[in-house]
Symmetry: C2
Subunit: 222 residues, 2 copies
């Protein structure tokens, strides 16, 4: 099990970033400054360095031209996949500009389709992509630990890239059993953790799952 | 040409909201408080009023139960479509929680597929959905008018719900001509207005287009 953390430029909650959890730490462009300011040295730096404003002086660098078809984050994810990552967690890439957020979700979907577990940590929330057949699960927990001011007990599931077939949600306030989730409706918004063991699974198609950063799941791939 | 403004609970930039531009003004749940605080009376109030915390005393109200399959915004959009809206603009629904933002984008896509022009105004940006064949255009303008601190000159286009075919981007820094845009890649991120007349069009499939709130387009449907 090889875990990669990819750190981008946007703010994220320090308490959810535990560097010791990861085997490889990659700074993506201005994410380099974020890591340095915390006294952390990445194993690799990836980017065109337009956002950072300078090219880091290190041998462990993948430098790309400014004009390219892929975002720096997409290139960093591609590198992690090639390096046989089993799990990739993105920090600092989902909480500022919506255009960048949507681009990252698109690329995360591609990554999930290739069988790599992928999470994105935003401000207050975690997002993951499941490409069917796939399942994500939570053990029983005290829902009072969830920060009600932010994403609270809510968990949302949306189909992406077409309808998702065989969607099951169990142990939550509202249950779904082998349902079809449209990708042009709001059904899937604001289900709620109850504290019971919970799971979300999809048989065919892709879903994005969003929940509080305090409710990190146990993931089970098929 | 009947224009509807739907106002949700989240903050938005007052300068881009010109009530006189609209034929019908709908408050969606806590958006009622937003409008009242600005001295505006909506033509209709829609919601379960969980967010608002009380039920407005008005006859022009569509009240729904809390437990339902559609979000309040989806129900308000459905009402506007039934009432023969030609254009719907959402305010206060794209800039806080990402789960709500994604749900609203899904519903906006459905609306675009039914032939209704739909825009969402966030904090600093505007987002629209094009269901092919469809075209959006901008007249020549001075790009210095765009706020570089926010979305600046950038314009992003992403396929949703599968690849988009026949995507053309003209008058921008990077051109696309009759291209296929994948919905699992970041290509489409951060094109740039140059000030020249610009356009984005798609022949088949759906795209979301995101740009500065200062760059309101002229829209041409086929």
């Amino acid at each position: 099990m090889t875990r990669f953390a990819l750190v981008g430029a946007v703010d994220f909650n320090e308490k959810v970033f535990r560097v010791e959890h990861y085997d490889v730490l990659i700074a993506v462009d201005a994410g380099y400054a974020t890591l340095k300011s915390r006294g952390l040295t990445p194993d690799l730096v990836v980017g065109d360095f337009d956002s950072l404003g300078y090219v880091p002086e290190t041998e462990n660098i993948l430098r790309f031209p400014h004009e390219k078809d892929e975002s720096d984050m997409e290139l960093a994810i591609a590198h992690a996949c090639k390096a046989d990552a089993d799990e990739i967690v993105l920090y600092g890439c989902l909480s500022r500009r919506l255009d960048h957020t949507l681009a990252n979700i698109q690329v995360m979907r591609s990554c999930a389709q290739s069988g790599v577990r992928i999470f994105g940590v935003g401000c207050g929330f975690v997002l993951t992509l499941l490409a069917g057949p796939c399942r994500i699960a939570w053990e029983a927990f005290d829902p009072a630990m969830l920060d009600a001011e932010e994403y609270g007990r809510y968990l949302s599931v949306f189909a992406l890239g077409g309808p998702a077939q065989g969607v099951t949600e169990r142990g939550l306030l509202y249950s779904l059993e082998n349902a079809v989730l449209s990708d042009t409706a709001s059904l899937g918004l604001s289900n709620e953790f109850t504290g019971a063991p919970a799971e979300v699974s999809v048989q065919q198609g892709d879903v994005v799952v969003i929940f509080s950063e305090d409710a990190w799941p146990t993931v089970c791939l098929p």
